[in-house]
Amino acid sequence: MSLTELEFQAQGISQEAVPAGGIQGRSQLQLTWRRLRRDRMAVASMIVICVIAILALLAPVFASLLGHGQAQVFPNTGLSSTGGPMAPGTHGFIFGTDELGRDLLVRVLYGARVSLFVGLTTTAIATVAGVTVGLITGFFGGWVDAVLARFIDTVLAFPFLVLALSLAVVFGPSLTIVISVISFFSWAAIARIVRGQTLSIKEKEYIEAARSLGASPWRIMFVHILPNLMAPVLVLATLSIPAAIVFESTLSYLGLGIQPPTASWGNILAGAQSYYQIAWWYLVFPAAALLITTLAFNLLGDGVRDALDPRTERIFAAGRKRGRRFRVGRPAAQIDGLISSIQTDLPEEG
C-alpha cells in the first residue's frame, strides 16, 4: 500500500481537497529535468557543451575578426624561420600555426563545427531509425523479428571501420560517407535496446488493456510503448554523440573522412603527428578540444542516466554526505521509488 493510500485512509476519504485551477501532474520529462539541474557535474558539462557550440557557430566570426580563413595559408607570417609551424601568440596566431602556416585556432574552431554537426546529425538519424525499427521488430515479432533481430546483431558485430574503408575506396572519402557509416552503426545499438524493451513492455497489462479498447498496433507502439522507452533511448542518444565524434575524428585521421583543407580535429591531428616534436601546440590544442568535448558529452550522458533512474549509485553525488546514499540493494530502491511517486518536493538527494 502506498503512502498516499495510507493518508487517504487516515482521512477517511477517497478524494482530497484541491485548489481551484486544476492540478498539473509532473511528467517524467519534467522530473528528470529537475533532477538533472541539481546535478553539478551534469550542469557543468551542459555549460561546456554550450560554450563549445557557441564557439563553433561563431567560427566564421573568429575567422574574419582575426583575418585568417580556415584554409588560408600564411607562408610568410605563419611559418617560423626554419619553415616549421609558428608558436602560439606570435603574429596574431593565438594557437599558433600548422606546417602550412594556417591559423590553428580557426581550424580548431571549424573542426568543432564538423564534430558537432556529425555528432548531432548521426545521432538524430540513428535515433529515429533505431527506435522505429526496434519498435516494429519487437512488437510484431514473428518472422519480421527473426530476420531483423539477426540483422541488427550482425550490424552491431560488424567491424565498422572495414565498411568505411570499403566505401571510401569505392566512392571516395567524403562527409556523406562519414555520416552514412556512423548512422548505420549507431542505429543498430539503439534498435537492439528498443527491441528488448519493447519485448518486455509488450507483456504489460496496460498494453493488453489498450488492445481490449481496440487500439491499432501503431497506436499501441507510438502512444503506449514509446513513452515508456524514452529513458534508455535518451541515455543512448546522449552517449551516441561523443561516440560519433570520436568515430568521425578517427576516420578523418586515417584519411577516410573529411579531407584537408577542410578542418576536422582528426585530420589536424594526423598532420600533427609529424610535427609534434617541434610544435607541441599542433598536437595539444586539437587533442584538448576533442577530449574536452567527448568528456563533456560522456558526463552529460551519465548525468542523464542518473536523472532518469535515481536509484543508480553515484560517486560524485552533488552535495551528498558520504555513505548516506544507499548501498546497492533492493529495499532502498523501493523507498526511492515510493518517494518519487508521491511527487512532493522532498529533497531525495539531501
Binding site: 500500500m1 502506498s2 498516499t4 493510500e5 487517504f8 485512509q9 477517497s14 478524494q15 482530497e16 484541491v18 486544476g22 492540478i23 498539473q24 501532474g25 509532473r26 511528467s27 517524467q28 504489460k204 497489462e205 496496460y206 493488453e208 488493456a209 489498450a210 488492445r211 481490449s212 479498447l213 481496440g214 487500439a215 491499432s216 497506436r219 502512444v223 503506449h224 513513452p227 515508456n228 524514452m230 511517486s341 508521491i342 511527487q343
Partner: protein
C-alpha cells in the same frame, strides 16, 4: 434475484443453455470453448511437444443486466476464458456469440465495433494503467480510438466519468503514480465505462485491494450496473465476494466447469465435492457457525493443465472418488432434486445433509 435461465427449460448434457431459452436479453453465449496453448520444445524447428489445456470445453450465457460470477483456483482457466470472450487471445475451438453475432477469432478491424460493447477491468491497478499517460488521456482513450467525440467534448466527457466513479475531476492531468490503488481501479472502471458498454468483464478487480477499499469498489460496480444496465462477468477466487455481486455462478476446475447455476442453489446446496470443499474453507463470520462448520480438506496440489487427470479431472483429490471417476468424464447435467438451472459435473454428487469424509485418501495423497 432472477437467474439467467428461465426455469422452464431443462438443459441437456453438454450444451447449456439450449436455444429454446434464448430470449432477447441473452448478451453473450459461449459454446464449447477450447483454448490450448502449444508448448514449444527444443530443436531447430521448435516442435510443439504438448499443450497447456487452459480451457477445455466451457459453455455459458450471460444476460444483459446480470452478473455471472466465475470462481476457481489459480490456474483453472478463468482468466484465459475471460480473455477469449474479450477477443484478446485467439480461440482454439468453440464459438463466442455476442448479441447473436459470432465474434470468435475476428480480425482486429471486424472486432472493432464490438469493442465498444465489451470492455474489461483488470486485476492489477498498478500494471493496467500506462504510467506515462495522464489520467485524462487514459480515460479518454476509448473516445480517441473510436472517434466518438471531439477533443473538446472529450475533456468534459472524461471529467463526467471521473465524477461518476468517485474521482475528483480536477485530477484530470495527474499521472497514475499519484493515485492510490483503489483510485487507480476506479480509473480503470471509468475507462471501461467510457463508451457505455453492454458487458464489462471484471478480471479479479478487487483482489489486489485492501478489504475496506474492496467494498467501495464493489459498491461502485453495483451502482453502475443499476444505472447503466451493465452485464458483468465477474472473476474472482474469493467466494464471498462472488456471492455478493453475482446472480449466477460458475465454478471452474482445471479448464472445465464443475458446477454452475443461480447463486443460491449453488451456495446453499453445492453438489460438486469441489464446490463443497471450497465453501467449507471460506471463513464464517459467526463464531458459532464457524465452530459447527465441517472443514473438508483436499489433498495434493492442483494438477498441471498440461497433463490433466483422466476422466473427472478432480478425481485424484476428491474424497468421494471411485474407479469410475478415473475413466469416465462426468457430463454437466442437472442432478435429481435440483432446479433445472443448477448443473453439476459429477458422478457421485454430494447429497443433501451428507457429510464429506475429509481426505479418506489421506496418506496416499501425500505419498504421491
Amino acid at each position: 434475484m432472477t437467474s439467467p435461465i428461465t426455469p422452464e427449460t431443462a438443459p441437456s448434457a453438454q450444451s447449456w443453455p439450449t436455444d429454446a431459452d434464448l430470449a432477447d436479453d441473452v448478451l453473450v453465449r459461449v459454446d464449447n470453448l477450447v483454448k490450448h496453448f502449444p508448448i514449444k520444445g527444443g530443436g531447430l524447428a521448435g516442435r510443439t511437444v504438448g499443450h497447456v489445456r487452459a480451457v477445455d470445453g466451457v459453455s455459458l450465457t450471460v444476460r444483459s443486466g446480470q452478473t455471472l460470477g466465475l470462481v476457481g483456483e489459480t490456474g483453472c482457466g478463468k482468466s484465459t476464458l475471460a480473455r477469449c470472450i474479450a477477443g484478446l487471445i485467439p480461440v482454439t475451438s468453440g464459438t463466442v456469440t455476442f448479441e447473436g453475432n459470432n465474434i470468435t477469432n475476428l480480425s482486429r478491424r471486424r472486432m472493432q465495433p464490438f469493442r465498444r460493447d465489451i470492455q474489461m477491468i483488470f486485476q492489477d491497478p498498478y500494471g493496467s494503467l500506462n504510467p506515462r499517460l495522464r489520467v485524462g488521456s487514459i480515460i479518454g482513450e476509448p473516445f480517441a480510438i473510436h472517434g466518438t467525440t471531439t477533443s473538446k467534448a472529450r475533456k468534459t466527457a472524461v471529467q463526467e466519468l471521473m465524477e461518476r466513479v468517485g474521482l475528483n475531476p480536477e485530477h484530470y492531468n495527474r499521472f497514475p503514480a499519484e493515485f492510490s490503488g483503489g483510485q487507480r481501479q476506479r480509473i480503470g472502471v471509468a475507462r471501461a465505462l467510457a463508451l457505455r458498454p453492454k458487458l464489462i468483464i471484471c478480471d479479479e478487480p478487487v483482489s489486489a485491494l485492501d478489504v475496506s477499499i474492496q467494498a467501495q469498489v464493489l459498491n461502485l460496480l453495483a451502482d453502475l450496473q443499476s444505472d447503466f444496465g451493465l452485464a458483468y462477468i465477474f472473476i474472482a477466487h474469493d467466494l464471498e465476494v462472488v456471492r455478493h455481486v453475482s446472480n449466477s455462478v460458475i465454478v471452474m476446475y482445471l479448464g472445465k466447469i464443475a458446477e454452475a447455476g443461480p447463486k443460491n442453489p449453488v451456495y446453499d446446496s453445492p453438489r460438486h465435492p469441489y464446490t463443497a470443499a471450497l465453501l467449507s474453507a471460506a471463513p464464517a463470520a459467526d463464531p458459532e457457525a464457524a465452530a459447527n462448520k465441517q472443514r473438508i480438506i483436499l489433498t495434493g496440489d492442483v494438477p498441471s493443465p498440461i497433463n490433466p487427470p483422466s476422466g473427472c479431472r478432480f478425481h485424484p483429490r476428491c474424497p468421494k472418488a471411485q474407479d469410475m471417476c478415473a475413466t469416465a468424464v462426468p457430463p454437466l447435467e442437472v442432478k435429481p432434486g435440483d432446479p433445472g438451472t443448477h448443473v453439476t459435473a459429477c458422478h457421485f454428487p454430494v447429497q443433501a445433509g451428507e457429510v464429506l469424509a475429509s481426505a479418506s485418501r489421506g496418506m496416499q495423497g501425500y505419498a504421491r
